[in-house]
Protein backbone atom coordinates (compact mmCIF):
# COMPACT_ATOMS: atom_id res chain seq x y z
CA UNK A 1 0.00 0.00 0.00
CA UNK A 2 1.27 3.49 -0.77
CA UNK A 3 1.68 5.73 2.19
CA UNK A 4 0.61 9.20 1.13
CA UNK A 5 0.00 11.97 3.60
CA UNK A 6 -3.42 13.44 3.19
CA UNK A 7 -3.73 16.88 1.66
CA UNK A 8 -5.24 19.79 3.61
CA UNK A 9 -8.34 19.32 1.42
CA UNK A 10 -8.70 15.72 2.57
CA UNK A 11 -8.33 16.76 6.19
CA UNK A 12 -10.96 19.46 5.73
CA UNK A 13 -13.34 16.86 4.28
CA UNK A 14 -12.63 14.50 7.17
CA UNK A 15 -13.37 17.27 9.60
CA UNK A 16 -16.65 17.94 7.88
CA UNK A 17 -17.89 14.37 7.67
CA UNK A 18 -16.23 12.72 10.66
CA UNK A 19 -16.71 15.52 13.16
CA UNK A 20 -19.50 17.87 12.02
CA UNK A 21 -21.90 14.97 11.64
CA UNK A 22 -20.90 13.12 14.80
CA UNK A 23 -23.02 15.07 17.29
CA UNK A 24 -21.03 14.22 20.40
CA UNK A 25 -17.67 14.95 18.76
CA UNK A 26 -19.00 18.29 17.55
CA UNK A 27 -20.59 19.08 20.92
CA UNK A 28 -17.27 18.84 22.77
CA UNK A 29 -15.36 20.65 20.01
CA UNK A 30 -13.27 17.78 18.58
CA UNK A 31 -11.13 18.71 15.59
CA UNK A 32 -9.04 16.60 13.18
CA UNK A 33 -5.63 18.26 13.36
CA UNK A 34 -3.73 15.88 11.13
CA UNK A 35 -3.99 12.60 9.28
CA UNK A 36 -1.74 10.05 7.62
CA UNK A 37 -2.42 6.57 6.31
CA UNK A 38 -3.49 4.73 9.48
CA UNK A 39 -2.79 7.64 11.82
CA UNK A 40 -4.88 10.50 13.19
CA UNK A 41 -4.32 13.54 15.39
CA UNK A 42 -7.38 15.04 17.09
CA UNK A 43 -7.82 17.84 19.58
CA UNK A 44 -10.47 18.89 22.07
CA UNK A 45 -10.36 22.36 23.67
CA UNK A 46 -10.60 22.94 27.43
CA UNK A 47 -14.13 23.87 28.52
CA UNK A 48 -15.97 24.36 31.82
CA UNK A 49 -18.57 21.68 31.07
CA UNK A 50 -15.87 19.01 30.63
CA UNK A 51 -14.54 19.38 34.18
CA UNK A 52 -14.44 16.29 36.39
CA UNK A 53 -13.05 17.86 39.54
CA UNK A 54 -14.82 21.12 40.37
CA UNK A 55 -12.15 22.16 42.90
CA UNK A 56 -9.12 21.82 40.64
CA UNK A 57 -10.77 22.26 37.23
CA UNK A 58 -9.17 19.04 35.93
CA UNK A 59 -10.98 17.54 32.91
CA UNK A 60 -13.04 14.35 33.46
CA UNK A 61 -11.50 11.02 32.46
CA UNK A 62 -14.55 10.40 30.29
CA UNK A 63 -13.59 13.24 27.96
CA UNK A 64 -10.27 11.49 27.34
CA UNK A 65 -12.20 8.26 26.69
CA UNK A 66 -14.39 10.01 24.10
CA UNK A 67 -11.42 11.66 22.41
CA UNK A 68 -9.36 8.44 22.25
CA UNK A 69 -12.33 6.34 21.09
CA UNK A 70 -13.10 8.78 18.30
CA UNK A 71 -9.45 9.18 17.29
CA UNK A 72 -8.96 5.39 17.26
CA UNK A 73 -11.97 4.97 14.98
CA UNK A 74 -10.62 7.56 12.55
CA UNK A 75 -7.16 5.94 12.52
CA UNK A 76 -8.80 2.62 11.61
CA UNK A 77 -10.78 4.28 8.80
CA UNK A 78 -7.56 5.80 7.51
CA UNK A 79 -5.82 2.40 7.50
CA UNK A 80 -8.43 0.61 5.42
CA UNK A 81 -7.77 0.04 1.74
CA UNK A 82 -11.43 0.48 0.98
CA UNK A 83 -14.26 2.15 2.82
CA UNK A 84 -15.99 -0.02 5.44
CA UNK A 85 -18.15 0.53 8.46
CA UNK A 86 -16.49 -0.25 11.80
CA UNK A 87 -17.56 -0.82 15.42
CA UNK A 88 -15.48 -0.64 18.61
CA UNK A 89 -15.06 -4.08 20.18
CA UNK A 90 -13.01 -3.01 23.16
CA UNK A 91 -10.95 -0.13 24.39
CA UNK A 92 -8.51 -0.18 27.29
CA UNK A 93 -7.34 3.12 28.72
CA UNK A 94 -4.55 3.77 31.23
CA UNK A 95 -4.69 7.14 32.95
CA UNK A 96 -1.15 8.22 33.76
CA UNK A 97 -1.53 11.72 35.11
CA UNK A 98 -4.26 14.32 35.48
CA UNK A 99 -4.77 16.74 32.61
CA UNK A 100 -3.56 20.27 33.38
CA UNK A 101 -6.51 22.66 33.88
CA UNK A 102 -7.06 25.25 31.10
CA UNK A 103 -5.05 23.30 28.53
CA UNK A 104 -6.60 21.61 25.49
CA UNK A 105 -6.15 17.88 24.85
CA UNK A 106 -4.49 16.17 21.87
CA UNK A 107 -4.73 12.55 20.84
CA UNK A 108 -2.50 10.67 18.40
CA UNK A 109 -3.73 7.24 17.34
CA UNK A 110 -2.18 4.61 15.10
CA UNK A 111 -3.90 1.63 13.51
CA UNK A 112 -0.93 -0.74 13.31
CA UNK A 113 -2.59 -3.92 12.06
CA UNK A 114 -5.63 -4.76 9.97
CA UNK A 115 -6.83 -8.33 9.46
CA UNK A 116 -9.84 -9.60 7.51
CA UNK A 117 -12.26 -8.93 10.39
CA UNK A 118 -10.40 -6.92 13.02
CA UNK A 119 -8.33 -3.72 13.20
CA UNK A 120 -5.86 -3.10 16.04
CA UNK A 121 -5.10 0.41 17.21
CA UNK A 122 -3.23 2.22 19.96
CA UNK A 123 -2.97 5.84 20.97
CA UNK A 124 -1.96 8.45 23.49
CA UNK A 125 -3.56 11.61 24.87
CA UNK A 126 -1.34 14.56 25.80
CA UNK A 127 -1.21 18.37 25.88
CA UNK A 128 1.74 19.34 23.69
CA UNK A 129 4.40 16.65 24.18
CA UNK A 130 3.46 13.14 23.15
CA UNK A 131 6.38 11.86 25.24
CA UNK A 132 4.63 13.12 28.38
CA UNK A 133 1.27 11.33 28.05
CA UNK A 134 -1.88 11.90 30.11
CA UNK A 135 -3.35 8.57 28.99
CA UNK A 136 -2.63 5.67 26.65
CA UNK A 137 -5.03 3.26 25.02
CA UNK A 138 -5.25 0.09 22.97
CA UNK A 139 -8.38 -0.97 21.16
CA UNK A 140 -9.82 -3.40 18.66
CA UNK A 141 -12.42 -2.67 16.02
CA UNK A 142 -14.71 -5.00 14.09
CA UNK A 143 -14.69 -4.35 10.35
CA UNK A 144 -17.78 -4.27 8.12
CA UNK A 145 -19.85 -4.10 11.29
CA UNK A 146 -22.90 -2.13 10.29
CA UNK A 147 -24.01 0.78 8.20
CA UNK A 148 -21.87 3.79 8.97
CA UNK A 149 -20.62 6.93 7.33
CA UNK A 150 -17.96 6.21 4.68
CA UNK A 151 -14.63 7.89 5.30
CA UNK A 152 -14.09 10.69 2.77
CA UNK A 153 -10.71 9.73 1.35
CA UNK A 154 -11.82 10.93 -2.06
CA UNK A 155 -14.14 13.71 -3.23
CA UNK A 156 -16.59 11.04 -4.46
CA UNK A 157 -16.62 9.36 -1.07
CA UNK A 158 -17.21 12.68 0.66
CA UNK A 159 -20.15 13.42 -1.65
CA UNK A 160 -21.56 9.95 -0.99
CA UNK A 161 -21.19 10.40 2.77
CA UNK A 162 -22.94 13.77 2.61
CA UNK A 163 -25.81 12.19 0.67
CA UNK A 164 -26.31 9.50 3.32
CA UNK A 165 -26.17 12.10 6.06
CA UNK A 166 -28.67 14.37 4.31
CA UNK A 167 -31.05 11.44 3.94
CA UNK A 168 -30.76 10.67 7.65
CA UNK A 169 -30.68 14.24 8.80
CA UNK A 170 -33.19 13.85 11.61
CA UNK A 171 -31.50 10.77 12.99
CA UNK A 172 -34.10 8.37 11.58
CA UNK A 173 -32.23 5.54 9.88
Amino acid sequence: MSNPDFTPEHIAMMKDVLIEHVPHAKAIGMTVEGAKRGEAWLSVPYAENLIGNPETGVIHGGVITSLLDNACGIAVQLALAERQSIATLDLRIDYMKPATPKLGLMAHTHCYKVTKNIAFVRGTAYHTDEGDPIAACVGTFMLAANRAIPVPVTAEAAAEAMKILAKNKDGAA
Binding site: P23, N49, G52, T56, V58, N70
Partner: protein
Protein backbone atom coordinates in the same frame (compact mmCIF):
# COMPACT_ATOMS: atom_id res chain seq x y z
CA UNK B 1 -22.49 -3.30 51.44
CA UNK B 2 -23.03 -0.31 53.69
CA UNK B 3 -25.35 -0.93 56.60
CA UNK B 4 -24.24 0.99 59.66
CA UNK B 5 -23.32 4.44 58.35
CA UNK B 6 -26.00 6.84 57.09
CA UNK B 7 -26.23 6.77 53.29
CA UNK B 8 -24.73 9.72 51.43
CA UNK B 9 -26.59 11.50 48.63
CA UNK B 10 -24.69 10.08 45.64
CA UNK B 11 -26.85 11.92 43.14
CA UNK B 12 -25.96 15.28 44.72
CA UNK B 13 -22.30 14.27 44.65
CA UNK B 14 -22.50 13.43 40.93
CA UNK B 15 -24.38 16.63 40.11
CA UNK B 16 -21.38 18.55 41.46
CA UNK B 17 -19.32 17.18 38.55
CA UNK B 18 -19.77 19.47 35.51
CA UNK B 19 -19.08 16.71 32.95
CA UNK B 20 -21.58 14.30 34.56
CA UNK B 21 -24.18 17.08 34.43
CA UNK B 22 -23.28 17.81 30.82
CA UNK B 23 -23.83 14.16 29.82
CA UNK B 24 -27.08 14.04 31.80
CA UNK B 25 -26.18 11.39 34.36
CA UNK B 26 -28.33 11.01 37.48
CA UNK B 27 -28.27 8.42 40.27
CA UNK B 28 -31.36 6.54 41.42
CA UNK B 29 -30.79 5.50 45.01
CA UNK B 30 -33.10 2.86 46.51
CA UNK B 31 -32.25 1.22 49.80
CA UNK B 32 -28.79 -0.26 49.59
CA UNK B 33 -28.61 -0.18 45.77
CA UNK B 34 -27.95 2.51 43.21
CA UNK B 35 -28.62 2.63 39.47
CA UNK B 36 -27.09 5.33 37.33
CA UNK B 37 -29.15 6.77 34.48
CA UNK B 38 -27.76 8.34 31.30
CA UNK B 39 -30.65 10.44 30.04
CA UNK B 40 -30.74 10.40 26.26
CA UNK B 41 -29.96 13.61 24.46
CA UNK B 42 -29.01 14.36 20.86
CA UNK B 43 -25.48 15.54 21.78
CA UNK B 44 -24.61 12.00 22.98
CA UNK B 45 -24.91 10.53 19.47
CA UNK B 46 -21.77 9.18 17.83
CA UNK B 47 -23.25 7.66 14.68
CA UNK B 48 -26.19 9.64 13.27
CA UNK B 49 -26.87 7.08 10.53
CA UNK B 50 -27.77 4.15 12.81
CA UNK B 51 -28.27 6.21 15.08
CA UNK B 52 -26.11 5.11 18.02
CA UNK B 53 -24.62 6.57 21.19
CA UNK B 54 -20.95 7.64 21.02
CA UNK B 55 -18.62 4.93 22.33
CA UNK B 56 -16.76 7.52 24.38
CA UNK B 57 -20.00 8.58 26.07
CA UNK B 58 -20.74 4.95 26.99
CA UNK B 59 -17.21 4.63 28.39
CA UNK B 60 -17.59 7.84 30.39
CA UNK B 61 -20.96 6.62 31.71
CA UNK B 62 -19.48 3.29 32.88
CA UNK B 63 -16.58 5.12 34.52
CA UNK B 64 -19.02 7.42 36.32
CA UNK B 65 -21.15 4.41 37.34
CA UNK B 66 -18.09 2.76 38.89
CA UNK B 67 -17.12 5.94 40.75
CA UNK B 68 -20.71 6.41 42.00
CA UNK B 69 -20.71 2.86 43.38
CA UNK B 70 -17.39 3.44 45.15
CA UNK B 71 -18.72 6.68 46.62
CA UNK B 72 -21.96 4.99 47.68
CA UNK B 73 -20.17 2.19 49.51
CA UNK B 74 -17.17 3.98 50.94
CA UNK B 75 -17.67 7.73 51.08
CA UNK B 76 -18.30 9.38 54.42
CA UNK B 77 -20.57 12.27 55.33
CA UNK B 78 -18.31 15.12 54.24
CA UNK B 79 -17.53 13.54 50.83
CA UNK B 80 -16.87 16.06 48.07
CA UNK B 81 -16.70 15.56 44.32
CA UNK B 82 -13.03 16.56 44.46
CA UNK B 83 -12.14 13.60 46.68
CA UNK B 84 -13.78 10.90 44.54
CA UNK B 85 -11.70 7.89 43.46
CA UNK B 86 -9.59 8.47 40.33
CA UNK B 87 -9.46 6.03 37.41
CA UNK B 88 -6.13 4.25 36.87
CA UNK B 89 -7.18 1.95 34.05
CA UNK B 90 -10.47 1.09 32.41
CA UNK B 91 -11.28 -1.62 29.86
CA UNK B 92 -14.53 -1.28 27.99
CA UNK B 93 -16.19 -4.08 26.01
CA UNK B 94 -18.73 -2.82 23.50
CA UNK B 95 -21.41 -5.50 23.23
CA UNK B 96 -24.25 -3.89 21.30
CA UNK B 97 -24.83 -0.52 19.72
CA UNK B 98 -26.34 2.00 22.12
CA UNK B 99 -29.71 3.11 20.77
CA UNK B 100 -31.02 6.68 21.17
CA UNK B 101 -32.79 6.12 24.49
CA UNK B 102 -32.04 6.23 28.24
CA UNK B 103 -29.26 3.92 29.44
CA UNK B 104 -28.91 2.39 32.91
CA UNK B 105 -25.78 1.36 34.77
CA UNK B 106 -24.85 -0.81 37.74
CA UNK B 107 -21.42 -1.48 39.20
CA UNK B 108 -19.97 -4.04 41.58
CA UNK B 109 -16.81 -3.67 43.60
CA UNK B 110 -14.89 -6.90 43.11
CA UNK B 111 -11.97 -6.07 45.37
CA UNK B 112 -11.14 -3.19 47.63
CA UNK B 113 -7.59 -2.75 48.78
CA UNK B 114 -6.09 0.01 50.87
CA UNK B 115 -5.14 2.18 47.91
CA UNK B 116 -6.81 0.58 44.89
CA UNK B 117 -10.29 -0.81 44.22
CA UNK B 118 -11.31 -3.08 41.34
CA UNK B 119 -14.76 -2.47 39.90
CA UNK B 120 -16.95 -4.04 37.21
CA UNK B 121 -19.72 -2.03 35.59
CA UNK B 122 -22.44 -2.81 33.11
CA UNK B 123 -24.79 -0.68 31.00
CA UNK B 124 -28.12 -1.69 29.46
CA UNK B 125 -31.19 -0.10 27.93
CA UNK B 126 -34.60 -1.78 27.78
CA UNK B 127 -33.42 -5.29 28.74
CA UNK B 128 -31.01 -5.85 31.59
CA UNK B 129 -30.09 -9.29 30.20
CA UNK B 130 -28.86 -7.65 26.98
CA UNK B 131 -26.13 -5.23 28.13
CA UNK B 132 -24.79 -2.73 25.57
CA UNK B 133 -21.37 -2.46 27.26
CA UNK B 134 -19.36 -3.76 30.19
CA UNK B 135 -16.23 -2.40 31.80
CA UNK B 136 -13.75 -3.29 34.46
CA UNK B 137 -11.29 -0.89 35.96
CA UNK B 138 -8.94 0.01 38.77
CA UNK B 139 -9.49 3.14 40.83
CA UNK B 140 -7.16 4.97 43.14
CA UNK B 141 -8.89 5.68 46.45
CA UNK B 142 -8.91 9.16 47.97
CA UNK B 143 -6.00 9.16 50.39
CA UNK B 144 -3.30 7.96 48.02
CA UNK B 145 -2.52 11.00 45.86
CA UNK B 146 -0.08 9.43 43.42
CA UNK B 147 -1.04 9.42 39.76
CA UNK B 148 -4.22 9.49 37.70
CA UNK B 149 -6.87 11.80 36.33
CA UNK B 150 -9.91 13.80 37.31
Amino acid sequence: MSEAKPPIDVNALMQAIPYARYLGITVDQRGNEITTVLHFSQHLIGNPVLPALHGGVIGAFLETTAIAQLAFEFAVGDASAAALPKPIGLTIDYLRSGRPMDTYGRAEITKQGRRVATVRAEAWQDDRSRPIAAAHGHFLLQAADDTPTS
